[in-house]
């Protein structure tokens, strides 16, 4: 016992000495950005932090996507061994961590640098705010409502590239006959749920979508708009057969290699196209809102900073937070990530067609909140489970899925 106590004392002493003797702080940052495009983007943060000359970025990437990474991050924070910063989708995922006082309050940095005025759209910062205090820094805007199409795949099949969802569905049979997978879909549950809610915004329209996802109105789920969505999804799932991949970027790769006609995936997919050297408009086409409605959701990623005892670390954490939202880093990061910057005041000259479309929609204000901001993780998980079962199943009818979805929405919190 005494030996352990002495050892602990000694190691505490060492730790204290290490902390005081080193002026620079090593900041361990965990995230789940591991695909090619994502890794290139996160490297921009690392470069920017290392370029300050005082602090060092220690990369703590966790492979396997958010569903794998979030549990690891949460258990580390709850276990008393927090990293210095971590990526979450802002919204309700960190609610209880903030309530428990485990997160660093960034309000003073935000006020000193005027985040309130420069973050656009403002609800991104609202999602970081809990009881009037700011706990996270939004770094990008991602929208789910995109469909990516391979021009070459349609050319091979002798078909015109669809310009909306209806055309896509009409020509899917012929595309399948030409040996292509019409719709690429990976096996991860969130992909099925995402594809479904994109179809819901496009087919059912914004009002019905908001009734269901924001107001948790289970009557609206059983309404005619959503009936149409479920029926369309039941058709679409037949066109996903053959995309035997797990990760979203592998599914995107099917489109890049022209093995698949299209994919419903958020704008982060564009990072993969860029990395593969594909050009928007000539190699691939994009349909925001599935070409049916010009509405995009403004979800995104944010960085949270667990509360630490060491004041030097806290200072470094705040520096990193400000760095992430600074104009230069916003531009270089978002260009690599394929996402839109959270600042309304940065100039994006060199953006491609697709990003331009996204920026235009953003400027016109046709935006809806992301599902992460509306649904609790518990409800989101239930939706994920249902959707992955529905998309992979060949015998679950649209009506059954609709009924079960209504039950989930009715019990949502």
């Amino acid at each position: 016992m005494r030996l352990t106590a002495r050892l602990m004392g000694a190691s505490a002493l060492c730790a204290a000495m290490a902390a005081t003797s080193a002026a620079a702080v090593e900041l361990e940052v965990t995230h789940w950005w591991t695909s090619g495009g994502e890794a290139a983007a996160v490297a921009k943060f690392a470069e920017a932090l290392n370029a300050t000359g005082t602090h060092t970025w220690v990369d703590g990437a966790i492979a396997g996507g958010g569903d794998t990474a979030r549990p690891i991050m949460i258990s580390r924070i709850l276990g008393g061994d927090p990293m210095d910063a971590f990526q979450f989708n802002h919204g309700r995922q960190a609610e209880e961590l903030i309530e428990a006082g485990l997160m660093l309050d960034l309000t003073d940095v935000a006020e000193a640098n005027g985040w309130k005025d420069l973050v656009n759209p403002p609800d991104l910062l609202d999602a970081c705010t809990y009881e009037g205090r700011i706990y996270c820094v939004p770094v990008n805007i991602h929208s789910w409502q995109w469909m990516w199409l391979s021009n070459k795949a349609y050319e091979d099949a002798g078909l015109p590239v669809p310009t909306n969802w209806q055309e896509f569905m009409d020509s899917a049979d012929e595309l399948q006959a030409a040996g292509k997978i019409p719709l690429a879909l990976g096996g991860q549950p969130w992909q099925s749920a995402g594809a479904f809610q994109v179809m819901a915004t496009a087919i059912a329209g914004t009002d019905a979508w908001l009734k269901v996802f924001r107001d948790k109105d289970s009557e609206a789920v059983m309404g005619p708009e959503f009936t149409q969505v479920f029926e369309s999804a039941a058709q679409a799932r037949e066109f996903t057969r053959g995309s035997n991949v797990q990760d979203w970027n592998q599914a995107t790769n099917l489109v890049i290699t022209d093995a698949a006609g299209g994919q419903i995936m958020g704008d982060w997919a564009q990072g993969e196209f860029a990395l593969a050297g594909e050009v928007a408009g000539t190699d691939y086409s994009c349909l925001p809102g599935l070409g049916m409605s010009d509405v995009i959701s403004t979800g995104g990623d944010a960085f949270y900073f667990p509360a630490q005892d060491d004041p030097e670390v806290t200072a470094a954490q705040k520096e990193l937070a400000q760095l992430m939202i600074s104009p230069e880093v916003q531009v270089s990061f978002n260009a690599a990530k394929g996402s839109l910057p959270v600042r309304g005041d940065v100039n994006l000259e060199a953006v491609n067609d697709c990003t331009r479309k996204g920026l235009d929609i953003l400027a016109s204000g046709n935006i809806i909140p992301a599902t992460e901001q509306l649904l609790s993780p518990d409800t989101a998980q239930q939706v994920n489970d249902l959707m992955t079962e529905f998309w992979a199943s060949s015998d679950m009818s649209a009506a059954d899925a609709q009924q079960r979805f209504a039950d989930i929405i009715a019990s949502a919190d």
């Binding site: 209880e96 309530e99 428990a100 035997n244 489970d385 992955t388």
Partner: protein, 311 residues
Amino acid sequence: MAATHDTSALAGPGAAPARRPIRLFRNLSSKIAALPMILVATVIFVGCTLWTVVHSFTSSRLLPRLDWAGLDQYERLWSTPKWYVSIGNLAVFGLLSMVFTLLIGFVLAALLDRKVRGEDVFRTIILYPFALSFIVTGLVWQWILNPELGIQAVVRSLGWTGFTFDPLYDADIVIYGILIAALWQGTGLIMCIMLAGLRGVDEEIWKAAKVDGIPTWKTYTHVIIPMMRPVFVTSLVLIASSIVKVYDLVVAQTGGGPGGASEVPAKYVMDAMFGAQNLGQGFAASTMMLLSVAIILIPWAYLEFGGKKRG
């Protein structure tokens, strides 16, 4: 005290000791040595188990809280389709993995015991997969069973273009795809334990069986296997514990897919606790897992260790 104790023990039953030593203090030093282990077992296993069970009756979300919720979590658990899929999968996986691991393990051990040449080499090869973690095993088999990369692609490239073998992408048979990987990983260890058991059988018994003209297979089934009862019990316990905790293999191979067809209870617990940030639900599910293990284990332990002692 110690001296009298020793002499009375040495004197044996013939000389009646002046005072019976108190049973609790017999082998005192070894009991003291075991104390930390006993404490750890009680506090960590029993204590944390009770804590989990208590919290399964609360509405805890991300953080454990004592907001009493009665049986709500259990009602929700038993009305969730995913949970039924999970326990169904565990039943199929458990039964088949138990039978096949024992069968393959024993047959391999018996074959190696026939004094084959290069036994060491075979033993190493067969035990080797056990050195790999479940995650690595899962990834390797994900590739082998992937229709575009693995067995299906190889067979098709040899000319059988109609050949289809994609268990991981067929919801009806996905659990067998996981079973294959589990068997590949786990049988080696069971084989080694069985082999050790076979080596423990006296050479004379084989000679006696031969003199009596009993065929080899009959010697195995009627003489050797009954003699190896403790070895089988050890193997059974090892296999059973690996079945209940199967999680990482599923995560690495299928992630629960396709369409949640390969979910298992341990994954349900993890998903509920950390994915859905619903601790209460995860605790309820893990309490059900504990209960089912207890239902199987307690009668068995009673039969095995209770009653009269075996020699």
